[in-house]
């Protein structure tokens, strides 16, 4: 436990010392928030955004985007960089267990996601008059599950992608596709059939719905949750199986 906390604390300090990653994870979603807010403001449209105001729709979606950016870009690049440079080799020769390494990555993801969520909410609520979450308890549960899901995907990507370059390439492509079609870009109602089909394959779509439901006052969608749980469990098991130290 002491080891895990210490490792997590060191990893957090390392994250803060890495300005590019910090910027991408925390600042990029804010920029997108301002762009979308500037274009659509927050008047409800019965034919788009699940019938709610655009910014009511996008605020939980961009919390999802921060979480996705951690899992698709930050974590895989970090882990594969450790592998490529030989940091994992050194850790492997020490008494630390691979699950402690995974756990510390999950805890770091949580801290970053919480900071990102607070910043987005603190900007969106006053600037665009975004409504407060309807069911805070369920929203927090959805948030925790979302972070775990993308941490699990991130650990899998970081476990199998051999180099930093590979992780950056794959991660950024996945991130931008999901950003565009999974709920962070144009409203799902205006997308064509192939785009929607593609979106159905992305975990971010379900994570965004899971975050939006309690925020907007829709009821908890069990089928949607089941899909998210699948995106949590399957990559988690695969990473334990396919993790490579070098």
């Amino acid at each position: 436990m002491r080891t895990l906390l210490k490792l997590t604390w060191v990893e957090l300090k390392l994250f803060v010392r890495e300005p590019v990653t910090m910027f991408f994870t925390l600042v990029f979603p804010i920029i997108v928030l301002f762009v979308m807010g500037g274009v659509f403001a927050n008047t409800p449209d019965p034919d788009a955004w699940r019938g709610v105001g655009a910014m009511n729709f996008y605020t939980p979606a961009y919390i999802g985007l921060v979480i996705a950016s951690i899992g698709l870009v930050g974590l895989p690049v970090h882990l594969s960089g450790y592998r490529e440079r030989g940091v994992l080799r050194r850790l492997r020769a020490s008494p630390i267990h691979v699950l402690s390494i995974f756990s510390s990555q999950i805890l770091v993801s949580f801290v970053i996601a919480v900071v990102g969520a607070i910043v987005i909410t603190a900007v969106a609520m006053p600037v665009y008059d975004v409504a407060a979450p309807e069911d805070l308890a369920l929203l927090l549960a959805a948030f925790v599950i979302s972070v775990l899901t993308f941490a699990s995907i991130g650990i899998l990507l970081g476990s199998v992608l051999p180099t930093t370059r590979a992780a950056q390439g794959v991660g950024l492509v996945l991130f931008f596709i999901m950003f565009m079609i999974s709920g962070g870009g144009p409203p799902p109602e205006v997308m064509n059939e192939p785009m929607r089909r593609l979106a159905d394959l992305t975990p971010l779509k379900y994570v965004i719905i899971m975050l939006q439901d309690p925020w907007l006052g829709f009821s908890w969608n069990m089928a949607n949750f089941g899909i998210v749980a699948g995106f949590l469990v399957v990559p988690g098991l695969l990473s334990v199986r396919f993790f490579r130290w070098e």
């Binding site: 002491r2 080891t3 210490k6 490792l7 060191v10 300090k13 390392l14 010392r17 890495e18 450790y82 440079r85 030989g86 940091v87 080799r89 050194r90 492997r92 020769a93 020490s94 008494p95 630390i96 267990h97």
Partner: protein, 302 residues
């Protein structure tokens, strides 16, 4: 007493090469055991199999009564490792790395003391990426020792250290051994092997070419002794009668006697007996380097 490390017929190949062909040795408790050999001989591969970092293709391994292949987790808590190739995160600070690695074990050493001993105190707040090669190396050695290991594996520990730091490192490693640890040391420095190792194995092409104390290896494989002195025109025919003398050469006033074993003392005794006390008598003994070159050939075979 059961040896701390036992290696029997270790074999390990990579896709296209046999890195370790057939290696057997054992290391006793409290020993400093050296592995010497040309590049690509299989030293690192052998050590990494013992650390449980690589899976052997064949043979039997035992470290502290633990099988490094199947019980690596148990072994890691008891061993310390300085790897030939590894890294730390670029932006981690020296003290953070020591503090972190100390937290991996409940009975770790006091890391500020280690930091001081290995000359890193002035670099306490420096990031890993800003350290010089030798400073990084010293940090890795300190990290290998921070969990008070019972067995320490040091793979080219003094590569990149300046001469002063190397001697300092030897002293500290002797201290670790005196504290009860067993040390396995891979090195390319003959003086290091000769000064620091109780016993050593010379590895070549994945096999052990010779094994023993540095002294035994020199006597066995390169027992050549040479004595030179000036004798003017004196009659030296008696030299040929002295046991262990093989050859006597005269170049002007200089005499060069070649032989083996205790030849030097016998020649010196003979000189005194014949009333000669040359002031410039020198003896030359073979060194470990001669043994090394004799056993492994010279040049870049690999």
């Amino acid at each position: 007493m059961k040896p701390v490390i036992e290696v029997e017929h270790l074999r390990k190949g990579y896709a296209s090469v046999v890195a370790v062909d057939d290696v057997s040795f054992s290391v006793a408790d409290g020993e400093i055991f050296g592995l010497l050999g040309p590049n690509g001989a299989g030293k690192t591969t052998t050590v990494e199999c013992l650390q449980g970092l690589r899976r052997a293709d064949g043979g039997h391994l035992q470290v502290l009564g633990i099988d490094p292949q199947s019980q690596a987790g148990q072994l890691r808590a008891l061993m310390g490792s300085q790897l030939q190739e590894s890294a730390l995160p670029d932006r981690i600070k020296v003290w953070e790395a020591l503090d972190l690695f100390a937290s991996f074990s409940p009975h770790s050493a006091d890391w500020p003391t280690l930091m001081e001993q290995w000359g890193l105190s002035a670099k306490r707040n420096a990031s890993f990426s800003s350290l010089s090669g030798g400073q990084r190396q010293r940090l890795f050695i300190a990290l290998a020792l921070v969990n008070r290991p019972k067995v320490v594996f040091l793979d080219e520990m003094t590569a990149g250290l300046d001469p002063g730091a190397r001697r300092g490192a030897w002293e500290l490693i002797r201290g670790i051994r005196d504290g009860g640890a067993t040390v396995v040391l891979v090195t390319h420095f003959m003086d290091e092997a000769e000064n620091l190792c109780d016993r050593l194995a010379i590895v070549d092409h994945g096999r052990i070419a010779a094994l023993g104390t540095p002294r035994d290896l020199i006597t066995e494989y390169a027992g050549e002794v040479r004595v030179t002195f000036s004798a003017g025109e004196a009659d030296l025919s008696w030299l040929a009668e002295i046991p262990h003398v093989r050859q006597v050469k005269r170049r002007g006033p200089v005499v060069e006697v070649a032989g083996d074993g205790p030849m030097a003392v016998l020649v010196a005794g003979g000189l005194v007996q014949h009333g000669m006390t040359p002031a410039d008598l020198r003896t030359e003994q073979s060194t470990l380097e001669d043994v090394f070159l004799k056993l492994t050939g010279s040049g870049m075979g690999n």
